[in-house]
Point group: C2
DNA sequence: CTGTTAGCGCCTTCAC
DNA sequence: GTGAAGGCGCTAACAG
């Protein structure tokens, strides 16, 4: 009963008694075909179980209806809302997401991007700025719309949706200064963006700060360990700035396990405004960034360009804001 | 300086002074080409910045080197390790992952699968069992290898890597019985798999259990709310079985906020063995499932089939195990 | 509104 | 070991 081969547009056209191109138009450009013909073609599609071969269509039309998305690692929960909204936004416009992971390795990143380009996506969305000059050059020469995200630069490859990690660090540093804590520590991821925030923080404070660096993934366990390390460096520690809410959570658990009161004995601040942070006891002060919006804007930039719509601005700073909660209150 | 058009294999062949097909073979089947020719072609590739068009290759060769992955929602952290290892495993074998989200909607699922089939992936990996019979039929007729995951069935569409949620529920029910708790509650996601676990749990207990259903996403906030609801139903509550560690975390926070001691006043059990669960205070009892392994096995099933390797078994039960920790100890 | 023609860029099949 | 045709399935471009 199952047909030996999948139906092609050719079969549909024959079944409907029209030419190949008419069948094609009935499906992908119904405006220019008579209603009666469309009905015939539609009936033939149902009868044959036809599913269009998007590979072939893409080859000819130069529109693959795919967008490549590249993240360091999917498990970096920070980027998840961005990828999720990116996928949904693309999907609504008929695009599919091709996913790549770099595992924070520049060589892997270059090779992933290379393969991605070969698939002729209609756009490429990258988390962070592409580091290697060779890869940047290849991307530019590919003429594929590129959106770098979650960071800021005056010289993106093409377009950019992000914010300044330096400024986040500055803002946090000033906040910590204002609070008057005297023995501050940092629990920081080892990736480029976390280091940028740390640099900004230190610049605002105007002095070095004891730091526990954490290799990815930043999670609760490593947060606990980071606080242990910081307390070994500085027993009088009274505030910790963490590069993610997951780390902050770990610092909080470790602090409570040691009988420290939060924020009286130890103030804690995170980054990313994870879904749990507002609902912990005590709730966690953090930096809010609109992840879903980054994904949405990146999708729009690409879709608009593909449709020939004018692009208002190609560098979008979505900003950020410090959300003060109980873990640093008072 | 930038070339007006991307280089094609044609350009490479001309540059290298060989025929088109020789250039093609030098790149994709070097075994049958002389070393000298390969070197010439390689030089031409570097000179032109050639990147193979995988769309065109896939059209002719019937191997797109893409695998489709379908999840309910990316933010369901349960599946993340699976998707991450799936992506890495595929990537190592030269495959790319095409991502789709169903948002737990059967209609969206059907339409996403349809589009996926149209892209001619070499395999499709789906989280959960495909519900709609129409979609199952289309998948079968597409002749694309399909792997359903994170569930069990004797009649998968094609292949399957998962475990029995019914049995997880049974095992948890028996564990709760053995512990002798008398006023048990359930905080459960509303999705199909969470309901299956709940059914198994109730079957093992042999009586109905007060339940707070939680619509997706299951997170800390909804866990807190779930405990509040359960306590309203049953003030003498002494144990809660949760359908995820995120919910369990929320139940724990809410319990502690109400001055309940864990596990003395309230025992808590989760599901999924999230990365934080082992390191909380108290640590959270949970059910461990090897998510990365599911992704790895699914990738292997597809890659092996594509390479014509014999498939040992097409239904793999990866099992599970209850991990007892402090939140139910004593 | 519909049809004919000519490829998209590459790989399979066959020859040499 | 290398090369010359032909076509994968579809859609732009131009006719009618």
């Amino acid at each position: 009963m199952t047909p030996p081969k999948a139906a092609t547009l050719h079969d549909v056209a024959r079944e409907a008694g029209v030419s190949l191109i008419t069948a094609s138009r009935a499906l992908s450009n119904p405006g220019v075909v008579s209603a009666k013909t469309i009905a015939k073609v539609q009936a033939a599609v149902d009868a044959t179980g036809y599913i269009p071969n998007l590979l072939a269509g893409g080859l000819k039309s130069k529109r693959s209806l795919m967008v490549a998305g590249v993240v360091p690692a999917l498990a970096v929960s920070q980027f998840l809302p961005t990828v999720q909204s990116l996928t949904n936004e693309l999907s609504a416009a008929g695009y599919q997401l091709l996913l790549g992971q770099t595992n924070y390795d520049p060589d892997v990143e270059a090779s992933v991007l290379n393969t991605m380009i070969g698939r002729q996506p209609d756009g490429i969305v990258i988390t962070g700025l592409v580091q290697s000059e060779a890869a940047r050059d290849k991307l530019r020469r590919s003429r594929i719309p590129v959106v770098e995200t979650w960071d800021l630069s005056d010289q993106p490859i093409d377009k950019l949706v992000g914010f300044s990690h330096q400024k986040v660090g500055n803002a946090l540093g000033e906040y910590f200064l204002k609070k008057g804590w005297t023995h501050i520590g940092i629990a920081s991821g080892s990736d480029h963006r976390a280091r940028m925030r740390r640099d900004g923080f230190i610049a605002a404070l105007g002095r070095e700060v004891p730091t526990a660096f954490v290799s990815p993934p930043s999670n609760l366990e490593r947060g606990r360990r980071a606080l242990a390390d910081l307390l070994a460096l500085e027993p009088r520690l009274d505030a910790v700035c963490c590069s993610s809410d997951q780390l902050a959570h770990g610092v909080m658990v470790e602090a409570q396990a040691r009988g420290l009161r939060i924020p009286q004995d130890l103030a804690i601040c995170g980054f990313g405004n994870a879904d749990f942070s507002a609902h912990m006891v005590p709730s966690i002060t953090t930096v809010h960034v609109d992840g879903p919006d980054i994904g949405r804007l990146a999708a729009r930039l690409i879709i608009d360009q593909c449709r020939g719509a004018p692009i208002a601005e190609s560098i979008i700073d979505v900003g950020f804001r410090i959300v003060e909660r109980e873990s640093t209150a008072g």
